[in-house]
Amino acid sequence: MSAEKEPLFSSKNIKLLTEPMNDSNPITVQVLGICSALAVTVKIKPAFVLAIAVVIVMAVSNVVISLLRKTVPPRIRIIVQLVVIAAMVILVDQVLKAFLFDVSKQLSVFVGLIITNCIIMGRLEAFALSNKPWPAFLDGIGNASGYGVILIIVAFFRELLGSGTVWGFQVIPESVYNFGYENNGLMILPPMALIVVGAIIWIQRAKNKKLVESN
């Protein structure tokens, strides 16, 4: 046992939360979890619900794996991780079906596909297996929120420009449509999500020069 106890929100722990928001964002920097970012970001509501679901799954499974890290034999660790994630995903899926049936239907298989989300497996392997539960918990929250934030930003632009709504409410007034404005059909198609993600990466790197690779 170390003599001094580390404070709960030491600067190191805070960094676990904030780094994935910018410098090591799972989507824009590590380029993981792109498939769900393309699939569920047509409207904000499903994107938001999926983001919350990923935060819960990731935080809990990070803690569980971190608790088990000394008892799991390295050879079967992937199977154990999968079992933990799958159990969490099923729980989340059932809750969504019970309380948010409409959204759950819109998300369809993408809730189940959280199991295969590379961000979760990646963080379990890279972080939870070698760290204590509390930092692992923070790391889970941080990375999942970093993922969720990008999802919601992309969904915001796609819903606003593609359907003229935000969170299902009409925000572009009827008078603008009468003037000749049209919703952009391309925004609803998946390729545009890729372009929006690309634009976010572009802006982020223009502001954060240390992310730019030199070659």
């Binding site: 404005y181 049209e182 952009n184 059909g185 391309l186 925004m187 198609l189 690309g198 634009a199 572009w202």
Partner: protein, 386 residues
Amino acid sequence: MKSLRKYLNKIKPHFEKGGKFEKLESTFEAFESFMFVPDTVTKKGTHIRDANDMKRTMAIVVLAVVPTVLFGMWNVGFHHFIATGQEGTILQQFWLGFLRVFPIIVVSYVVGLGIEFAFAEYRGHEVNEGFLVSGILIPLVLPVDTPLWMVAVATAFAVVIGKEVFGGTGMNILNPALTARAFLFFAYPSYMSGNAVWTHGMINGEGIIDTYSGATPLAEAAAGNIDKLPEISDMFFGTILGSIGETSTLAILIGAAILLITGIGSARIMISTFVGGLAMGLLLNAFAVNPFMEIPAWQHLLLGGFAFGAVFMATDPVSAAQTRKGKIIYGFLIGFLAILIRVINPAYPEGVMLAILLMNVFAPLIDHYVIEGNIKKRLKRAKVKA
């Protein structure tokens, strides 16, 4: 002219480093080199000097496009008069078309050049002349009644996402003008396809006579109404419906001649594109199961945007393949795929745009394998002798 030169020399120091307006250096440089041949010379490295710089190259392409622009303007008026059942002189028809087409050209240039200048200032490099061509090509591939704000949005999208993201003129993988068209095609399909968009005034239904259909020859052919196809001479001279600049094969061939004589357009690409289209047409004729597939292969080359795409879009030196063999493969596949998409895929009445964009993406790959193949061939030769 001399006094202008003197004036420019006088104000030049203000725009150089440390001057009052040093932030506007790129803008000044652009206008100076627009009016006078720049006196700067490349000093480093091995290079071939040619009087034909980028500015002149672009100017010749714009010149080559002029016949299609003028014809397109007249054609717009011509069809509007038919659709409304009026009589009019050629001049009246041209004037009406001019009033419709000119604003689209202005919007395309203002938006595109505005973004180009802004990026040049921000990044501190010179303004490139590349947009002079894209700016005239974008209006030509659009239906006449495309709302101006859509033209603006599409131009902005094409310049930013199609070009500046990759580093500006010379670095783009996709043809900017076709990027703009593809954007509009997928974003606002109701303004880009159907029977109502090709004739001026028809989308609002103002004063159109009842018997007028507004369908393009391609749409008629796709629907199986082969007997409604216009005369061959009409298709060649271009008095048919379509996007503003694509209808007249004659005007496009004049442009092609200008490009080929000056050596700016690649003959390899143009010819192999036509050959590719012809090959696919013949193949479809051989296995024809519906009237659309039975159209003589050579007629496909006159229909829709095929000739326009082959002459002005596929030959874009930046997004096309660079190697000689690569150019032939690239052109052939454009023609081949364009007719395949046109005839077989019911969702896309015209396949030229998609075929060219697809091959733009593949051009670097084609070049890579052509070069690899050449290296292998030469290595083999070297080994045999040793």
